[in-house]
Structures are given as C-alpha cells and as structure tokens.
C-alpha cells in the first residue's frame, strides 16, 4: 500500500489550531472573505502560501473554493448510512471491517483519493474513542469537517490521559469493566467507530437507523440511546 499524498482529505501539517479554510479581513480579489478577530502567524503563513501557489499557477482561487465546497458537502450523514448498513447487513459489516473502502464505495460514497481508513467496532465490552494528538486527522471523507473541540488542544491532550473523565463530560458513562481503548490516529490511517446498536431498534429499517446515529458516536465520544 502506498499513499499518494495528493488526496483530497489529507489534513496533516496544515490544520494547526486554525479553521478548515481560513480567510482574512485583508481584502483579496480572488478569495471569499470572512472576518477574523485575530490573525495569527499561521493565518499569515497560510495566506502567503496560498497567494504564492496561485501566482505560480499550481492551482487557482476557484480550485480552492471548489475543494472547500466539495469538503463541506461531506457530512456525518454519510458515516451514519455506513453504520446503519453495517448493523443490518452482516456481509457488509464483515467487508467493512476487513476492507473498508471497497465496501463504502459500493454504497455510492466516493472515497477515492482519500487517506486509508480503518473501522473499529464498539462491542463486547470495548469502547473505542478516536483522537489525533499530533494535529487533527479525522475521517473527513465520511464524516465531513471535524468539530472544533476535536481539534482543540484540550481534547487532544486530555482524552489520551484521562479518557473516562473526558467521556463523562460528553455524557458518556461506562462501567469499569468496559475497556476504554483510545485510538490516536498518529499517521496514515483514519478511524471510524461503529457504535453499538441500541436496544429496542430491532423494528427500524436502515434509513430509520441511520437517523439515530450521531456524529459523536462515530468518534467514540457519544453513545446512542434506544429508539422511542
């Protein structure tokens, strides 16, 4: 296996504590404008790099906007569809766990040119929770843009050393007998958690099941309540 490192969703190195696509109050003819209260060195660096790359003809401002739009069209609803399918189709579940990308592609979700993906199943007394302590790696190809807290220094630092305390703050209380397995996505893989299917959802079809799957449950910072 080899990563191409030119994929859409690669987020190492250029996502340090700033937004997903920062713009500046400095007026540009070629980029969308949003106001920022503070402009950090990272903002200036990103802006300078972007302008140089546009000037050098590596890509255009329109390319950047298109890429931002493409990213923003990906949402946790994609992940929820994958989870619901895994709950209801044992063959799909097996394929998803062993070979995630072909399984996801078969659902009509485009994950070509995105980082490698691994799927982790919460079951049998093991609860996974995902973090990227080094930056903000996240399965953007199926969950979209990560929540701000996921990228915060506080979450990244604390969830590895006191996961039970952090999970309690998210409203997730697990018995001591459950193994909490923190997964630090330090390198080339992104991780999706399949939450446990709540009791009392046996009568729900795939679409209804997808509607109860929360984003946080697919990161491991949420549990799913039984359906009403």
């Amino acid at each position: 296996m080899m990563s191409s490192h030119d994929h859409d969703d690669h987020d190492h190195d250029h996502d340090h504590d700033h937004g997903d696509h920062d713009h500046h109050d400095h007026v540009h003819p070629h980029a969308a404008i949003e106001d920022h209260d503070t402009v950090t060195e990272f903002h200036l660096l990103e802006q300078a790099m972007r302008e140089l790359l546009i000037e050098a003809g590596v890509f255009s401002a329109a390319d950047i906007q298109r890429q931002i739009e493409r990213q923003e069209m990906r949402t946790p609803a994609m992940g929820a569809r994958i989870v619901a399918k895994a709950w209801t189709d044992p063959g799909f579940r097996a394929e998803l766990l062993s070979n995630p990308k072909p399984a996801i592609t078969a659902l009509g979700i485009d994950v070509a040119n995105t980082p490698a993906l691994q799927v982790l199943e919460n079951r049998d007394g093991v609860h996974h929770v995902v973090v990227c302590t080094l930056c903000s790696c996240y399965p953007r190809m199926i969950l979209g843009i990560p929540p701000a807290w996921y990228k915060s220094r506080e979450y990244r630092a604390r969830v590895v050393r006191e996961p039970r305390v952090v999970l309690e703050e998210f409203g997730v209380s697990l018995p001591d007998s459950t193994e909490i397995r923190v997964v630090d996505s330090t390198a080339d893989l992104r991780y999706l958690v399949i939450p446990e299917r709540p009791a009392g959802t046996e009568h729900l079809d795939e679409e209804a099941l997808a509607a109860i799957v929360s984003r946080d449950s697919m990161i491991g910072t949420g549990l799913l309540a039984g359906a009403a």
């Binding site: 302590t133 007998s177 390198a187």
Partner: protein, 99 residues
C-alpha cells in the same frame, strides 16, 4: 518486521523536524496489533523529499497504566500507529506483562 503480538518499545529518539511519533509514547512498551501497510516516510516527505523507501506502519496497543502514573483502570488501553524505525523488540520485564 514485527509479527502480531510482538512486544515493542518505542525508541526515545530526539529528532528535529516533523515526525509522527508522539512524545508521550517514547520509551513505552506496547504490543503489535497488526501491520497496517507501508507508507512514505513522513519525516522526509514533509520536506519535499520522496519519503522512500516505504516504511512499515504498525498499530501498537499500550496499557494506559504503562503510560500514565496512577492511571486508575487497569483494563484500559491506547492504540497508535507507529513506523517500524521507531520500534525495537522489547522485554516483558520493565512494564509488566501484556497478554
């Protein structure tokens, strides 16, 4: 190359520049869960080099109690993806059994 289940110690190198081994795992002993494949070396790739040869990347599982003093739940674990050149075979002694 490390087989699944091998105990490994994360090397305590200091390198200046980009790397994907978090500080809190340096010197710690864990168990190889699986080989995930081989990727370009981020330590040179980050500086516009080809990052070759490809480096094997392993999922390694640690016991939380081996990582943090006074960690309260003996059964809790942490996994990280670590490149082969950051790992060395380890003994069971120092940090106890991992089964």
């Amino acid at each position: 190359m490390f087989a699944d289940g091998t105990l490994v110690r994360v090397l305590d190198h200091t390198i200046f520049g980009h790397c994907r081994t978090p500080l809190y795992l340096k010197g710690k002993v864990g168990e190889v869960v699986s080989l995930t494949g081989a990727w370009r070396n981020p330590e040179t790739l980050a500086y516009h080099k080809p990052g070759l040869p490809l480096r094997r990347l392993y999922r390694v599982r640690f016991r939380q109690a081996d990582l943090w003093d006074g960690y309260p739940n003996a059964g809790d674990t942490l996994e990280a993806d670590l490149y082969e050149h950051w790992l060395a075979p380890a003994e069971r002694a120092a940090t106890g059994d991992l089964s």
